[in-house]
Symmetry: D2
Subunit: 144 residues, 4 copies
Amino acid sequence: MEVIKPYFHKVQYYETDAMEVVHHSDYIRWFEEARMDFLEQAHFPYQEIEAQGILVPVLEASCKYRQAVRFGEIIQIEAMITKFTGVKFMVSYQVYDEKHEVLHATGNTAHCFLNQDFAPISIKRHMPELYEFLMESCKKGAAQ
Amino acid sequence: MEVIKPYFHKVQYYETDAMEVVHHSDYIRWFEEARMDFLEQAHFPYQEIEAQGILVPVLEASCKYRQAVRFGEIIQIEAMITKFTGVKFMVSYQVYDEKHEVLHATGNTAHCFLNQDFAPISIKRHMPELYEFLMESCKKGAAQ
Amino acid sequence: MEVIKPYFHKVQYYETDAMEVVHHSDYIRWFEEARMDFLEQAHFPYQEIEAQGILVPVLEASCKYRQAVRFGEIIQIEAMITKFTGVKFMVSYQVYDEKHEVLHATGNTAHCFLNQDFAPISIKRHMPELYEFLMESCKKGAAQ
Amino acid sequence: MEVIKPYFHKVQYYETDAMEVVHHSDYIRWFEEARMDFLEQAHFPYQEIEAQGILVPVLEASCKYRQAVRFGEIIQIEAMITKFTGVKFMVSYQVYDEKHEVLHATGNTAHCFLNQDFAPISIKRHMPELYEFLMESCKKGAAQ
């Protein structure tokens, strides 16, 4: 299984708030950016999952903020599959500075698989390769 | 034709940026809030327009910023139909403070009517009451 | 201690995403709206806290999504202080529909008090009334 | 004067709305991304301008939407200084697809220079190199 590279993001001015640092809600959006990039690197771009009529909604999201991020800084996010029950999976995130010296934030999101009517589907049956990938990733994530 | 009341919005912290005032992109979102409220007051809630398979996309949007708005302030927006060709319509916006003493910004948006495949439709045929309303509003807007 | 009323929010079109429901990051922003409203109802508007040179950053934020919210719906959020150590406090949120029949989401945020240099300050010393309010609210929140 | 390269942006899921295309307000944010990138390529990163106590607010913003952009697509934005009076400057934007075959949108923003108290300053006196750059860029932009 190939190595997934961290996701890099340059902080935009519109992401700052009146405290002159990035607003806390934007980290949740960055997790989405990193998650989509992770899936794309793993050859499961989210567009293609949706094109098969499968939605992957967010069931839970959380973030712990350790050190503020400012406009113009570049951050890198490491995403990792930490759990997969066959029905739900969890992604963990670590937000570092560009040089990987400062841990700015950590977080998690939990997800499941639905059809267009928002009813649960079996990903093992509908996308067995994605099922296998999540199972393998999960073992790797857990091993770290 | 009944009078449409201004739309009130309380400025949120997440709408501010590092200049400690509201980010300029949020005014474009406020115009949408005011436009949707205008349509709802006119008994054409946008949900019902979309429920009939009609989309009303934004063709153009513009804003002139006169005086910055800060967190916690309440602004009021007056929306007005200023043009309707039968195919396209234009909405104008004036953003005042709560007491209607300071004009913070002005703007315009232009719109048309599409079906779900993004092809133009005749609103006169599909929603004759909305067509009539826009024609009447337009005359009123132009008369001011 | 007076009763704090729920915070009402009307869902905007710009809060939806391509799944045709509200994007998960917007709930984190709604928590901020509800928190600011809670503080204002308690006679501690956040503007006045900041005017004293005190920042109240978010240390943690989390949300569990139970049922999607759609454009045009009105939601109500009940915020409650559930913990206060004298240094940190936690706010819990319950997102209901307008009629208080459907629980759409629940969440928490944790906060502390900093000065303009992002150094911790004693809220007991700088704003004793806010300290007292949080202590009292916390007891009430815990009792429910 | 060196050539400024277009700015590339990958469309995020949180930028889409219920029409399943990018929300119109995000283009205004993309213009900011492209403008900041333009300034950085020109060796005037906005952080350094602000570090000198100079703010560059948006006076006007406008966008014409020609063809919708979808999640996962990569767009490129060409920014150009089209006017500079010595006091105000205007930036024009062209939003193309990745292959530069489809023009998705065009727009403009107007700006001035303020100090921290939001009072106008002479950029010629405070940052003569930036003044020169804008004058040169403007001639180039006008010549195209």
